[in-house]
């Protein structure tokens, strides 16, 4: 049994999880001419894939929870995926040997970073649940499309599976270019699904708008990625090298496209610049005044400061380029204008996938790529810019949702509102916010997915989701009404259901000592207002559609009145409702698995925040004319204590609100 679930087997199963949907798509494209055959086949294959995913996700979750990102009780500083296909096998670095495309000369050293785009996929505490969610949601999408796809059904299901494969690939990727590849590949199936099987008159325009808008954002992200890769090569002495301030003099190392390498390099280069400035400043101070040596030392200090400013300026621009693709994909509010058209025109099952899965590509990209690779800029500008956008979005989208007359559009704006909250908590950049964000990705997938599944059923029964045409459905579809109420209650954050847990964490994350009081609390108020508004619009919809006198569109030429949920649909909604309840009552197993990897991100940010504060203190000292008190910059080069995990940040942050900037505290060893 142990052999069966050993990593050597599991990494092939993981590869199968990624590749199988493509094979399914090929089968359906060839053999799915008949709609009845196609949907049965698609349902069977999706269920099969769900089983396969469970086979790999369960052992992965157990394994990740066991080591918890810790080595002898200390957390790592970089992502360490398990079940990596092509693992080089020493169990320490979790690298892959599968290089796709070399940009420079291959590095002959074993287990060394390669200047190559690599096929580097794996599972860690952050993506393991998202992969499971993808498989589940695809099954649900297939199940609720049962009566929808009559025309070219084989092609429809084939595209659904292609979409699944691309989303899974993006979730699994630990190579930035590979991530980008899968990220963009989602556009092709989504374009054909919206444009080909859309339900509205403007489906072609909606498909085009969706494609172009997302492409524009993600191309900017591509430049950001290219820039991050090129400006953060592997330091010549490695990341473990304890001597600081030397790498700058030794020139560039190998470039790497690997997220784990890049996040260590980005942190290290910033440290190197800080150390170089500190060293030069110390030297300038020690040199006697009015001598040639002093002049020389001061010039060196000026050079080091200029080099650091140059590096920081580059990272500043790269941060905003990088973030562009993801804020469009999520979407955050001023970048959401593609969304109403795409969500309205897409087939209901595709809207389900857009909201439950594709939006997560954006948030995962922020968490996996943007924040670890630009920690300093994220610490400095993240909450101020994107947290504010998130907060504005929470309230704005909630009002938009209230104004909608269509259940589908209400669900669409509700999704925007919840994702704004997610981004807001994420950019609080503390363990609570990051944990809440990962958990909310799963929870939002379930509740938004569930709500769109309801929309799909309504569309299937009545060919409309307009609230003015629907009413009192409780009488006709008691089972549907029951599940809808459960999903809606979960969506508005009723205690005991899943969203409550993650939303509380996200809001709680805003109350941290290093956010200035007004901003942190202001954002928290906006977030709380959004949750209240979500209850308002959700219950308004429930009342109008499910309660009151029965009101339905006229039946088409004497067909029987639409039935309640079929057995298959009961299974689908039962699954969603059970998971909502389970995650609401006992989220601890899920949290335990993500703990280690959240700690990794939190640690990166903690050191970045300290560096930012140090710089602010220096600037303030320069302004006030006092000589800066130089603290030796010490950073445990490899490991940090486990305390930086869920237990809160390692030490009290420097320069808290109100007080004068204090010299930085050393992270505890």
């Amino acid at each position: 049994m142990d052999d069966l679930f050993s990593p050597n087997v599991m990494r092939w199963v993981l590869l199968a999880v990624l590749a199988a949907p493509l094979a399914f798509a090929a089968v359906l494209a060839v053999g799915g001419g008949n709609a009845r055959v196609a949907r049965r086949l698609a349902g069977l294959l999706a269920a099969l894939h769900l089983g396969l995913t469970a086979c790999v996700v369960t052992p992965a979750a157990v394994m990740i929870a066991e080591y918890g990102g810790m080595n002898d009780g200390q957390a790592y500083k970089h992502f360490r995926p398990v079940f990596v296909p092509g693992d080089t096998g020493d169990g320490q670095e979790h690298r892959t040997a599968w290089s796709l495309f070399f940009v420079g000369k291959p590095n002959p050293a074993p287990n060394a970073p390669q200047p190559a785009v690599q096929f580097y996929i794996g599972l860690d505490g952050i993506n393991v649940w998202l992969v499971a969610l993808t498989s589940l949601m695809t099954y649900i999408a297939v199940a609720v499309s049962w009566g929808f796809a009559q025309e070219r059904a084989g092609a429809y299901y084939a595209w659904l599976f292609v979409l699944q494969s691309a989303v899974t690939g993006a979730f699994l990727s630990f190579d930035v270019i590979l991530f980008y590849v899968f990220f963009e590949l989602t556009l092709i199936p989504a374009f054909f699904l919206i444009g080909g099987w859309g339900v509205g008159g403007g489906k072609r325009d909606a498909a085009r708008k969706f494609f172009l808008y997302t492409l524009f954002g993600s191309l900017l992200s591509l430049v950001g990625l290219v820039g991050i890769v090129l400006t953060n090569p592997t330091p010549p002495g490695g990341w473990m090298n304890k001597t600081r301030g030397q790498a700058l003099k030794q020139g560039r190392g190998t470039i790497s496209f690997n997220v784990s390498d890049l996040m260590r390099s980005a942190a290290r280069w910033s440290d190197e610049h800080d150390s170089a400035v500190a060293e030069a400043s110390f030297k300038a101070e020690q040199t006697p005044k009015d001598t040639g040596r002093r002049e020389q030392a001061e010039k060196e200090l000026a050079d080091a400061t200029a080099a650091r400013t140059g590096y920081k300026t580059t990272q500043f621009w790269l941060f905003f380029l990088l973030v562009a693709g993801f804020v469009v994909k999520v979407p955050l509010v001023p970048f959401h204008t593609w969304l109403p058209a795409a969500y309205a025109e897409a087939p209901p099952a595709v809207t389900l996938l857009l909201s439950a899965l594709l939006a997560k590509l954006g948030t995962l990209g922020l968490l996996r790529i943007v924040i670890p690779l630009c920690p300093h800029m994220a610490a400095e500008y993240g909450l101020a810019v994107f947290g504010t956008l998130g907060a504005v979005g929470v309230v704005y989208a909630a009002f938009c949702a209230y104004a909608q007359k269509d259940v589908k559009m209400m669900a669409a704006y509700s999704s925007v509102s919840h994702l704004g909250l997610l981004a807001l908590g994420l950019f609080a950049l503390n363990p609570e916010g990051l944990t809440g964000a990962v958990l909310h990705m799963v929870n939002h997938g379930l509740t938004a997915g569930g709500l769109f599944a309801v929309v799909a059923i309504l569309y299937d029964r009545y060919r409309t989701t307009d609230m003015t045409h629907l009413g009192g459905l409780m009488a006709r579809h008691p089972a549907l009404a029951f599940f809808t109420v459960v999903i809606c209650l979960a969506g508005v954050g009723l205690p005991g259901l899943n969203n409550f847990v993650s939303e509380m964490m996200l809001i709680g994350a805003l109350f941290t000592p290093w956010n200035t009081a007004a901003m942190g609390y202001g954002l928290a108020v906006a977030a709380a207002a959004g949750i209240f508004l979500s209850a308002w619009y959700t219950f308004t919809m429930l009342r109008s559609v499910f309660f009151g006198p029965v009101r339905t569109p006229a039946l088409v030429d004497g067909t029987a009145a639409p039935a309640d949920l079929t057995g298959r649909e009961v299974i689908v909604f039962g699954l969603i409702a059970t998971l909502c309840l389970a995650l609401g009552l006992y989220p601890q197993p899920v949290l335990a698995v993500m703990k280690g990897d959240v700690a990794v991100v939190a640690y990166t940010l903690q050191s970045a925040r300290e560096s930012v504060n140090r710089e602010l203190a220096e600037a303030e000292n320069r302004v006030s004319g006092t000589t800066p008190t130089q603290q030796p910059i010490s950073m445990n080069p490899t490991l940090i204590p486990a305390g930086a995990g869920r237990g809160g940040p390692g030490g009290p942050p420097a320069g808290g609100p109100g007080g004068p900037p204090r010299p930085p505290q050393q992270p505890p060893r």
């Binding site: 070399f102 940009v103 420079g104 498909a207 085009r208 492409l215 591509l222 090129l230």
Partner: protein, 520 residues
């Protein structure tokens, strides 16, 4: 002392023949075809003979070894090192594809002449890659141009065809004259027509440039003239005016050539004149120590890609649209030229010249593939002129539509296609240029401009894709026959995917073909 009394020179001149055997074979087969044309030559026969000629040239290129060791760059008129063999294979493969494409254009009574001209043009492109002398380079460029004039005129003797042939002829002759004028300056400065000597002596004069910030005005004038002359070949703005009209009026197969072969020749020639793409490397005469030439190329690149993309947005005619799209892609490739010739990489990272060569290959596949689909669809009974004519192609001709879709996705630059890898390499090459030169961060800005352009270009490519798959066909489905053009289109599309999924072997070839020239 005349050159002829220099025994080493005469030896090298004589020995050059062994470096051009495949080209000799191509021209030989072309002569044979011209002779046969005087009798009567059927369409299949001409096609088979031409294909055999290309295959024969390929066999010679693959099997006959080139004694590279006995070649001295400062004497020989032919340089078999560097990008030479990469360009040769590019020309040969392109020639094979064009022979297949020619099926649509040779319904008239001149199939033999058509294929003969095609082979001469391919030989010309191949020679551009290995010319090591201003004279041989000019001759090679003319070997490409002159058959093209004939080709534009041969298949369709309509008024539009005549106009496009005449337009191309006049402007091409003008550009050749400008190029020659530039060459005369280079000869005057270096005292030799040998390319290696020209580049090395310009680069050697460089130390003086640090004292006197004005680069020798004559050298700058010469290079500006060369850029203008070759800018016509690659359809760079503002030398692009002929492209849309000539594409619209010309026969599809010839337009496919026009979209690709002159670009290969123009970019390779430009790179060679600026000092890269040969194994021995004479240095870089125009690096970022002075901003004049780099800035000129920068501006031309930006204007070319932006202008091409913006005007392509307005087009309804497919050939005009692809003309502007080709102009825009020329702009992207100019990034490669710019980076390669002015800012060589410090380490073994991505260099501009191999990005350029890879992009040329990718561009060739996707553009020729798209034209091949158009050639397949057009026939005596059906004309595919505007975007709307493609409506519903996904239902009526699924295979042709799929090939076109792959090419379009590649032109957009979506992953898993050659276009993505090409763009990624260009971006990497441009972004890694250090910012401490006189160009400051202009290279990084250029990358962002290119990305915005790529996003804009997606608008019109996606419009075609939408018409292909999301609109109902106007006409009832016609029975589709397999034609040589369709074979060419599917081959191009398949190669586009292969290059996108596993680019490594091809990237290795480009890296071998474009050795990095060290900065001064």
């Amino acid at each position: 002392m005349t050159p002829l009394s220099n025994q080493a020179f005469v030896d090298h001149l004589t020995a050059s023949v062994q470096f051009v055997l495949p080209e000799v074979a191509l021209v030989g087969v072309a002569c044979l075809l011209f002779l046969v044309a005087a009798l009567r030559c059927s369409r299949p026969l001409a096609m088979v003979v031409a294909l055999l000629g290309v295959v024969g040239a390929g066999v010679i290129a693959a099997l006959v070894p080139e004694p590279v060791g006995r070649f001295e760059p400062s004497l020989a008129p032919i340089d078999p090192t560097g990008a030479a063999s990469f360009v040769r294979w590019l020309a040969l493969v392109a020639a094979a594809v064009y022979v297949l494409l020619g099926w649509a254009d040779t319904r008239t009574d001149t199939p033999a002449e058509y294929h003969a001209c095609l082979l001469v043009a391919a030989a010309g492109v191949s020679l551009v890659g290995r010319a090591n002398d201003l004279v041989s380079l000019f001759l090679a460029l003319e070997m490409l141009s002159i058959p093209t004039y004939v080709l534009l005129y041969l298949p369709s003797r309509t008024r539009a065809g005549q106009e496009s042939a005449m337009k191309y002829f006049l402007l091409s002759v003008l550009s050749s004259a400008v190029l020659l004028f530039g060459f005369s300056y280079l000869y005057g400065l270096a005292g030799s027509t040998n390319l290696h000597v020209v580049v090395s002596s310009l680069a050697a004069a460089a130390p003086h440039k640090d004292l006197d910030p004005a680069v020798s005005p004559l050298a700058a004038v010469a290079m500006v003239l060369v850029i203008a002359g070759l800018g016509f070949r690659v359809a760079a703005v503002p030398f692009h005016f002929y492209a849309p009209d000539v594409y619209e009026g010309g026969p599809t197969g010839v337009v496919a050539q026009l979209a690709f072969l002159p670009k290969v020749a123009g970019f390779v020639a430009l790179a060679r004149l600026l000092g890269v793409m040969s194994a021995h490397g004479g240095g870089l005469p125009y690096d970022t120590a002075h901003t004049l030439i780099p800035l000129t190329l920068w501006v031309v690149a930006v204007v070319t890609m932006s202008f091409g993309n913006l005007l392509a947005l307005l087009q309804d005619n497919l050939k005009r649209l692809f003309a502007y799209s080709g102009i825009a892609h020329g702009g992207y490739m100019l990034i490669g030229v710019l980076v390669a010739c002015t800012a060589p990489p410090a380490s073994a990272d991505q260099s501009g010249s191999d990005a350029l060569l890879f992009y040329l290959l990718a561009y060739g596949l996707m553009t020729v593939g798209a034209f091949a689909v158009l050639a397949h669809l057009s026939g005596p009974d059906r004309h595919v002129e505007t975007v709307d004519d493609l409506a519903g192609l996904g239902k009526t001709n699924p295979l042709a539509a799929a090939a076109l879709a792959v090419c379009l996705f590649s032109l957009i630059g979506l992953p898993l296609t050659a276009g993505f890898v090409g763009k990624l390499q260009l971006f990497l090459a441009a972004f890694q240029v250090p910012t401490d030169t006189k160009m400051k961060s202009l290279f990084q800005v250029l990358t962002v401009i290119a990305v915005v352009n790529a996003a804009v270009s997606a608008v019109y490519y996606l419009r075609i894709l939408g018409v292909l798959y999301l609109r109902a066909p106007f006409k009832p489905a016609q029975p589709t026959r397999t034609s040589p053009q369709l074979v060419a289109a599917v081959a191009c599309a398949a190669a586009t995917l292969v290059l996108g999924v596993y680019p490594q072997p091809f990237a290795e070839q480009t890296r071998k073909a474009a050795p990095v020239v060290a900065a001064r």
